[in-house]
Symmetry: C2
Subunit: 198 residues, 2 copies
Amino acid sequence: MSSENPTTRERILKAAWQLLEADPGGGVRMSDIAKAAGISRQAVYLHFPARADLLVAATRYIDEVTEADVRLAPSRAAKTGRERLPAYIEAWSNHIPEIHGVAKALIAMQETDEAARVAWADRLAAIRHGFEAAVRALKLDGDLTLDYSETEAVDLLLTLISVETWESLTVQCGWTQERFIASMQALAAQTLIVPGKE
Amino acid sequence: MSSENPTTRERILKAAWQLLEADPGGGVRMSDIAKAAGISRQAVYLHFPARADLLVAATRYIDEVTEADVRLAPSRAAKTGRERLPAYIEAWSNHIPEIHGVAKALIAMQETDEAARVAWADRLAAIRHGFEAAVRALKLDGDLTLDYSETEAVDLLLTLISVETWESLTVQCGWTQERFIASMQALAAQTLIVPGKE
DNA sequence: TGTAAAGTTGACATCGTGTCAATTGGTTGG
DNA sequence: CCAACCAATTGACACGATGTCAACTTTACA
């Protein structure tokens, strides 16, 4: 569909990414993005019908650029649930800072914009699948605690290892990324994995 | 400063509370609140300089009406950290659904409104104090795990048992309030309390 | 009776999103 | 070469929400 040097569309997406990364949340306006992309405000609407669509496209763009699918792969390689869970937690946790700015803007838009709500729900569903696979593996190994059903275990993981939690602990509280990952891995293991041997 | 039957100011606060409870987030406008309070939109500004101030006042109003301070007291009565932590988690967790709507609106405003940011930070600081006291008690008893510093333990509690987490698990995932509380208590205990006897 | 407080109405400024119409400049193809 | 097309520009405007202002009314109360 395209292959100029940097397409205008790509310049817009990149500009949106950079601006939102620098100032996550609602502070970034369409005119800011346009200016950063070197075009007029109205021209942005030639490529994206609305702000929500731009944000959604930006998350997809980031996924491509950062090869999110490749990064999530290692966890799929793990055979046991005990290996798979921490692997997926690490992979997803390392993706969070990349999408943080855009995700936050999308989350903020959810309240008022239906399209944004659906888009973010879609992304959450994708992450959920990863956790589901890990939990299912645990279950098959007989390593899933009896304290939580499979669904509840996934609910908990999706909630605990989230953009919101990540922002609170790293951005607000100043934890390092490594501390965050280690803490979440330990939390998940202690809570969901049956004490068992080895 | 006043004692009519229901003061107009109170009617506004109550209306804001009810509307935000029914539809948490950004969907509630000043005109909606005015209508629900039975006055004109402009009259609201006779009582609150701006939307942010109204929301802040609403949280204080809810605190009073629900006697939040009294409800948080039981945890202060507990002598040991092992008792105090779950008591405080329960008390705070049971306060969350009451402030949920208003809190969400305030959180949403944070991004753009400085006053809202400060106001919400203040409330978080108050909750943090509760967790700090519990963690300090654990530490004194020698029951705090070595895996986390006191500060980190508090960071974690404040992040895990938050309005955001509560909304995700109960509103989004459908957990009951009891399940939420029990799960958070178990999570906190397993993560922060040294295995110890009894 | 007269004044002050509280509220009403209508108009208006501001800001951000989104739309539209008219115009320009460059590229490609018949 | 000229026409058609495409991306983009400029300027204007509608809309919805917040917040402001001025002028008028109502009620209380002293």
